[in-house]
Symmetry: C2
Subunit: 244 residues, 2 copies
């Protein structure tokens, strides 16, 4: 029996998110199906976490246990040949039996891409959030500092999650401009459901003046989602890295 | 009556190419339908040329005549609101009556994107040609010079075109590396059906040694498609500009 770690990239556009569903095409569902066909075993893969419909991954991690006789690089080759072009297995590694993609995870990095062009670009429609009005990057950088550190992020979580402990630590938020994009990179020990999208929406609301910078402290401490209404859309979000 | 010029960007992934077809969703078909709904006139739009299924456009040009009472910028706004997110009208201009998107065109610029990463990237699958083996950019630059100037490009045209004069002039082919991409920019007075894709395939064949550099002259002069078999796939191709 082997414990296998997969490093996976995917374009989330044509999937109903990561998690297996009975009546919808999901990334987990498609990968599981292919691995079952190859191994002829009823394996289940465990992702480091879910991603929503339309969200992308540069390095999602999943693990599963199975009897696999061929070398891991051969297995990666066979699996990639079976997968559609919008999912790629970047690496297959054999791990100690105590490794688990979700429970062993120590932290994550997410990237959020905002396309701040004058007019929407159809080639970026599924890969970024189009915001045409001026964005004050310095204001966003200043506002991002309020979120860094350990906070109860209950007010920045969508309903539909049954997580009990809503305290998380954000280590760092890098904000920078690259051509017509504004990119936010979040590193933390974990993120609540939709947390990156709601923080990004709030930062954009600070830029546009809908939220006053001096109210951010209160909004975070209020733990009330009604104070942070703007949830940036899924297509700008990328799960970039999982730390173990 | 106004003669209207449209500058259009589109993601060609989900279209059966530019040209109107009865039983397929095409870019021309979708735009025409929306303009007809807005103007309530049976207009026809004329593109600068066709693009194949999967080919993208940064600045396709089309023109049509209609009675339009609202200002062109208002018209652009209404039309863009009606169009799906993978088509955008970047500019609407009122032209002299003798302007015609196709017949007035003096030249075109195409961009071809090759993704030369180690492993295929699902986020680029619809937007580039994935070539994993080493590409010799200097060899491609040297080989590209054989194609510059006026030639009979009959051997670099797919069948299915009823063009009679197959002589075209390529002004310039810019080849450069950008991160993991190799990008080819073609400027010429016109391009035959699939000509950019077949030349790109041939340049890659020179890089890989399938075609010897010293045979290029012969291959071009032979005017025989069987000597240039490698047609690079559509998803790497972008119609970048039409010159008038």
């Amino acid at each position: 029996m082997k414990n296998v770690k997969l490093t996976i990239a995917y374009d989330g556009t044509n999937y109903s998110g990561w998690q297996r569903q009975n009546n919808a095409r999901t990334v987990q569902g498609v990968i599981e199906k292919k691995i079952r066909a190859i191994t002829k075993q009823e394996i289940q893969i465990h992702g480091s976490g879910r991603t929503d419909a339309g969200v992308h991954a540069l390095n999602q991690i999943a693990s599963f246990t199975a009897e696999i006789s061929i070398p891991t690089n051969k297995f990666a080759f066979v699996l990639n040949n079976a997968l559609p072009s919008d999912i790629v297995i970047k690496e297959v590694e054999e791990m100690d039996m105590d490794f688990h993609a979700r429970y062993s995870a120590k932290g994550k990095k997410y990237i959020y891409k905002i396309y701040n062009g004058v007019i929407r670009n159809p080639l970026y429609a599924n890969y970024s959030y189009f915001v045409s009005k001026n964005i004050d990057v310095n204001k966003i950088i200043e506002a991002s500092k309020y979120f860094i550190g350990e906070h109860d992020f209950k007010g920045f979580m969508s309903s539909g999650s049954n997580v009990k402990n809503t305290i998380r630590t954000i280590y760092n938020i890098d904000v920078y401009q690259k051509d017509e994009f504004i990119i936010l990179e979040y590193k933390g020990n974990g993120f609540l459901y939709n947390m990156v999208r709601i923080i990004t929406g709030s930062l954009l609301d600070v830029s546009s003046g809908k939220i006053m910078m001096e109210n951010l402290d209160y909004i975070i401490k209020s733990k009330d989602r009604r104070n942070a209404r703007h949830k940036a859309p899924p297509q700008g979000l990328y799960l970039a890295k999982v730390y173990y």
